[in-house]
Symmetry: C2
Subunit: 304 residues, 2 copies
Amino acid sequence: MKLPEKVEVIEVCPRDGFQNIHDLIPFDAKVRIIKKLAEAGFKRIEAVSFVSPKAIPQMADAKDVMLAVKETLKEHGVSSVALVPNARGVETALECGVDELTYVISVSEKHNLANVRRTPAESLEQFKALIGEYGDKMRFRLALATALGCPFGEEIRTERVAEMARFGLELGCQEIMIADTVGMSNPARTHALMSALVKEFGADTFVMHLHDTRGLALANTLACMELGVHKFESAAGGLGGCPFAPGAAGNVATEDVLNMMSEMGIETGIDNDILHEAIELIEADVHAPIVSHMAHLYHKAPCR
Amino acid sequence: MKLPEKVEVIEVCPRDGFQNIHDLIPFDAKVRIIKKLAEAGFKRIEAVSFVSPKAIPQMADAKDVMLAVKETLKEHGVSSVALVPNARGVETALECGVDELTYVISVSEKHNLANVRRTPAESLEQFKALIGEYGDKMRFRLALATALGCPFGEEIRTERVAEMARFGLELGCQEIMIADTVGMSNPARTHALMSALVKEFGADTFVMHLHDTRGLALANTLACMELGVHKFESAAGGLGGCPFAPGAAGNVATEDVLNMMSEMGIETGIDNDILHEAIELIEADVHAPIVSHMAHLYHKAPCR
């Protein structure tokens, strides 16, 4: 079994984990959690999204959060990542000195319409315009949502995912994020898509963003690593489940990914104890269940 | 990704799932659950263990349970499997007309001593004596516990696992069960052990018994299937966690295994809806948390 010697684990709990949580998380708690995650050794943390506070009230303080954690991230050599849906978001990111931006387009037409009221083609044009305007001032990565399954049952063609990836790369993106947005994929499907993409664009191009809804995120991670893919997003505590499906797992939990990697001798550079301190901070201040195997073993997190 | 076209899923909830549960499960509930599982389409169900009721009070009614479900299992073409630790257990199994017996030996010396107060070598001799006495009347399979990790930190050598497997096969066993008793393995380790064993004895020889303590059971399953291994034990509802580690997962949940297989187009012959009816019966009468992804999605099982 050929596997990478090291992988990058990108922490997205403060963005994807927090954004769906109904109860507002105190500003100080967000800052405390992000700073603790920075201490754990991640090279990148997706800390906020700059979106309309009407759409996502939890992110209303995103700019202040980013400004408050900036120095600590820099001290620990952590690049800050933010999600932006439009030029206004990019402007705010520039004001805060964010290092890298994520722009999301769904491969699924239905999902993109539901999510941002645009067709994927319209979103690609908007992304092109954003890169045209800000590409010299900011690093962008393109995230392809529903690339591994559409919750509305729309067929996702590998060739379409490849086309959209190519579009982003030709605009100058250095990375394409491939998301299993609702955790629908399985190792065979993941392997099929990623082997086509890796063949065309190389393993280094891709960041995987896997959800654990059906418990398959680690098996999907393995399928990707067997192809040489070595960048994975995850959320401390497994946060990020849909608020309308209580008990359903969210993002694959960072601590579970980390355990798999360290057990297989794959380097991540993350300090497990500090990560679990961050999870304790999440438990203390975030009204969301901790959904992971390792948190239960490590510090008997209250069960979901 | 080369995977088997079909796999056998062996249901062990009534044995491995129930045996650790403190509160006695009513006799009628056990019978109802096993009959429902038989209806779901499993070819084999490990229904009881014939052990001392002092050691495992939950199994005190094992003989009556087996006699009560026997006809239903036969009607549905299900082979009954029971775990036995000694000649007395074999005698009881013969009285009930059980089809196949599981005899467990830990590869780890420390674990075997803790479990049955014998060295593995002594257990192998006992097993040989049992086969000598009953081998013409009963089908035996040898289960190698801790083959993928010892909770006491003892090193498990591949060559020792192979030796013990060879011992069982030379005695006439048609199958060797490889157990990750406390869910310590990872896909690289699983792949390394199983590729050596499959190379020597063939994929058809092995049944995997994986626990999901650290969330790696499905990734381990995938690693085995990539080697052609196609027989897997699992427990409906993910029961079988250690009673002293609340919240820790137990046996990999049958419904999660089944979902992975069916999503990948791998045939199991199991009816998913009937399986979930069985899980509802378990929820109703068994005082243990349902620990699986699919049960939460399928019928909003109360969370652990």
